[in-house]
């Protein structure tokens, strides 16, 4: 299944700034998203920024990436300006079903 623009961009950035292979970078981001209850095909840029700050530093450190927190913080800052949109039908529908409450 294809990832969202935010997912694809983040994986590419992690691969670029670390020694992780494409496969490991994508797997690591997938694991972080799973912990956050998010899905690669639907995650937005704003959501990914929080995952980059809260979860990915720990995951990258576990894979022997030096300065993981600093690297993730820098990627989180850069993704903030890119307006990657996401989408979640469940959230959208159940928000409407409350009639605005």
């Amino acid at each position: 299944m294809l990832g969202s623009a935010a997912f694809t961009w983040t994986c590419a950035e992690i691969e670029r700034v670390t020694t992780l292979s494409e496969l490991v970078a994508r797997g690591t981001v997938r694991l972080a998203l799973k912990q956050a209850g998010l899905e690669p095909q639907a995650v937005s840029g704003d959501q990914m920024a929080i995952v980059l700050r809260e979860i990915l530093p720990r995951e990258l450190a576990a894979r022997a990436v030096a300065n993981a927190a600093k690297l993730c913080g820098e990627i989180a800052l850069r993704i903030g300006g890119r307006n990657f949109e996401g989408g979640d039908a469940v959230v959208d529908v159940f928000k409407r079903l409350g009639g605005g409450k």
């Binding site: 209850g37 995952v51 529908v93 409350g98």
Partner: protein
């Protein structure tokens, strides 16, 4: 229960009737409300969930009970009521399937295939009933393999919805810890999951009892299942789609409490 006289209303059956009545009323009110919402939003999920509640819980279920228990009505009328109930239940069941597909599995071909298969299968079940004992057996004696298998569809599609809702709630709960989910929306998904589990359990138990030749609605066991689960389903749906302001305040306060504690 016999055709000459109605069932006596002992305490267990009265409690079951209360559970059933609460479920019917909640389904009617919320079904109409969600269909009214659908006229404003013009979105398919609202139409589907509104139709499912109105046609299955609000109309189909009481019509089946009417066909089965209103012994003073003429036989052709009871058969007609059962035919109408099956039509409403069939459309409502398909609405549940389409809701599950479009909300939880959009773009998944297997989900669309499952809904189409359910539609074909329900038509086959009606054919089986008509070719066999007929609608009279279903209306008067709660009998017929086709009728039983037809009823099984609503239980299975509702159970599918329950599974998807609870999985979605599990994801939303994890997001909530990071401040990425609205606690009220998470709660609504959970409540829909609980309501679906309750109604699927009643449906499945009733169908299995029917396969075993037990008239579920007339037994103390049936009452023990229907009463609490009917009330749970009704209460969960009400809190999900027509929540009192105090309840919403409580949900938000409960979600804010751990965040405040961790920030302190």
């Amino acid at each position: 229960m016999t055709r000459s006289g109605g069932p006596e209303l002992d305490p267990a059956r009265a409690l079951a009737a209360l559970g059933g009545l609460a479920f019917v009323l909640a389904s009617l009110v919320l079904g109409i409300r969600l269909l009214a919402l659908a006229t404003r939003t013009r979105q398919l999920p609202e139409v589907c969930i509104g139709l499912a509640l109105l046609l299955m819980g609000g109309l189909g279920y009481p019509l089946i009970m009417t066909a089965r228990m209103a012994v003073r009505l003429s036989d052709p009328l009871r058969i007609g009521v059962m035919a109408l109930a099956l039509l409403l239940m069939g459309v409502g069941t398909l609405a549940v399937g389409v809701f599950n597909w479009r909300v939880f599995r959009p773009g998944e071909r297997w989900a669309r295939g499952l809904v189409i298969a359910a539609a074909v299968s329900m038509l086959a079940c009606v054919g089986l009933q008509l070719a066999g004992p007929g609608l009279a057996a279903a209306a008067f004696h709660n009998q017929g393999l086709g009728f039983r298998l037809f009823q099984l569809h609503s239980g299975l599609l509702t159970a599918w919805g329950a599974y998807e809702s609870l999985c979605a709630w599990s994801r939303l709960r994890r997001r909530q810890r990071l401040g990425l989910a609205d606690p009220v929306v998470s709660e609504r998904v959970l409540l829909w999951g609980i309501a679906s589990v309750a109604s699927a359990t009643v449906g499945a138990t009733s169908t299995i009892a029917g396969f075993l030749g037990i008239n579920f609605a007339a037994t103390a066991f049936g009452a023990a299942v229907t009463a609490p689960l009917g009330l749970i389903a009704a209460g969960s749906m009400w809190l999900a789609f027509l929540p009192p302001a105090a309840y919403l305040r409580r949900v938000r306060a409960r979600a804010a409490a751990p965040a405040a504690a961790s920030g302190a």
